[in-house]
């Protein structure tokens, strides 16, 4: 194998700037997407534990739609198909007047896709809390919303904290798919540097290092959080 190493390349312009803006887009996509996905996922997750058959079916369909279609295809559908199906003026606004349409489409896709996965997670968490907890809350005179808010949800959250952290890591990783609709996030930028310089090891190495760093930090944060939130009595 014949390869000329040149790590200094990454600190030179324009490549350093490309990496930094790429990093910025990756962070922006992941965090904005997460902020939309979390409340949506909680709501659908609660709906998945509903006693009404229709709510169960609807929320089940919602989840299965986002889980059974590849994320990449969902990107294309939201970017190319949805604007055509919207009322003409709204579609036009989407395509012409919305600043950064690629970014916002990417955020929406990531948010919906992640909300489907979070919904399943919250459903599992809510169902993992022993039934007696709900009954006890009921017996002390709480209504169902109060029981959920003060008794069941706090315990469910503790149970699902580890997979919840890996879902956040997933949205960071999945944000790389936005490159297919033209968002120049981190993976796209490293690919671009490779194309310009043929220094793939350095370019992809930099991107890899960032993703690994995120995973390491998330792991640490999760362990700390778990310790802080641990209840004196095991659930």
């Amino acid at each position: 194998m014949n390869y000329q190493w040149n790590w200094g390349l990454l600190l030179k312009e324009p490549y350093a700037g490309w990496l930094l803006t790429g990093l910025g887009w990756t962070v922006a996509l992941s965090i904005t997407g997460w902020l939309i996905a979390l409340p949506l996922g909680i709501a659908i997750g609660i709906a998945r534990t509903s006693s009404s058959r229709w709510i169960l079916r609807l929320s089940g369909f919602y989840v299965s739609m986002f889980r059974n279609i590849p994320l990449l295809l969902q990107m294309f559908v939201w970017f190319f198909v949805v604007p055509e199906l919207l009322p003409a003026r709204l579609g036009l606004w989407f395509k012409r007047d919305l600043p950064n349409p690629e970014f916002w489409t990417g955020v929406l896709v990531l948010a919906f896709y992640t909300s489907g996965r979070l919904a399943e997670l919250f459903r599992a968490g809510l169902q993992a809390v022993p039934r007696g907890q709900r009954m006890a809350a009921d017996a002390t005179g709480m209504n169902r919303a109060q029981a959920l808010r003060y008794i069941v949800m706090p315990q469910a959250l503790r149970i699902i904290l580890p997979p919840l952290t890996s879902e956040f890591l997933s949205i960071v990783k999945n944000s790389s798919l936005a490159l297919t609709i033209g968002v120049l996030e981190l993976t796209a930028q490293s690919r671009q540097i490779e194309n310009f310089t043929f220094h793939g090891f350095e370019a992809f190495g930099a991107a890899t290092a960032f993703y690994v760093l995120v995973a390491l930090v998330l792991n640490l944060v999760m362990v700390r959080l778990q310790r802080t939130l641990a209840l004196p009595v095991a659930v």
């Binding site: 194998m1 299965s64 059974n68 590849p70 295809l73 294309f76 198909v81 992809f204 991107a207 995973a215």
Partner: protein, 216 residues
């Protein structure tokens, strides 16, 4: 006017794409299983250093996006081999090594799910370690693992669509080519959604049924 006859006119092209997606899935499952088993064996037999190496391998592959893995190998495989290879070769290498990380974790969890008492009981009844593994531990571990393996295969089937970024003609890329050539994005992508949805839904239902059979 929607033109759904487009699907019929291009049926064989789309079918070839679907075949490529399924083949890549199969290669990923078999290759990933082999790599995963190798990693699990390294963990079992090489002591603490092997453990660290495998841990690092699994951690890195699970931390980075699959697209980046595909880019890595698309760039690296020809460099290592010293000659150009097609996207297919580098994609299969990428999927095999990537899936290997996930499969090794599934294997580990499966082996862990068999309680320690099982091994002790087997040994106490006069079995050798190999016999205990063969007749007591592995059968139980496998029934715990198989549904998870299959679920991972369904995820992999969806992930094969990412070979779009290296222009391999999988089902999604084939759909995209037709959609753009004929200017029929709505029909083509709706059809692709339907196909993926039905395949994954049916496969998931199959896995659920298998799980219930095992549980009995």
């Amino acid at each position: 006017m929607p033109d759904y006859a487009l699907i019929v006119r291009n049926a064989s092209f789309l079918f070839d794409g679907l075949l490529l997606s399924l083949t890549l899935t199969l290669v990923g499952v078999i290759g990933g299983f082999a790599v995963g088993t190798a990693l699990a064996l390294v963990r079992l037999f090489t002591g603490i250093i092997g453990n660290y190496v495998v841990d690092a391998y699994v951690f890195v592959f699970r931390a980075i996006p699959l697209i980046l893995v595909i880019f890595w190998f698309y760039f690296m495989v020809p460099l290592i081999l010293g000659r150009p290879v097609g996207a297919w070769t580098s994609a299969t290498v990428a999927f095999t090594l990537f899936e290997g990380a996930y499969y090794s974790e599934i294997l580990r969890a499966g082996l862990k799910s068999v309680r320690a008492g099982q091994l002790n009981a087997a040994l106490a009844s006069g079995m050798s370690r190999a016999q205990a593994l063969r007749y007591v531990i592995l059968p139980q571990a496998f029934t715990a693992m198989i549904p998870i393996f299959l679920t991972q295969a369904i995820i992999l089937f969806q992930d094969t669509s990412l070979v779009f970024v290296v222009s391999l003609h999988d089902f999604l890329t084939a759909t995209t080519i037709i959609a753009n050539r004929d200017g029929r994005l709505i029909e083509a992508y709706t059809f692709a959604c339907l196909v993926y949805y039905l395949i994954c839904l049916a496969a998931t239902a199959g896995v659920e049924k298998l799980k219930r059979t095992f549980a009995r």
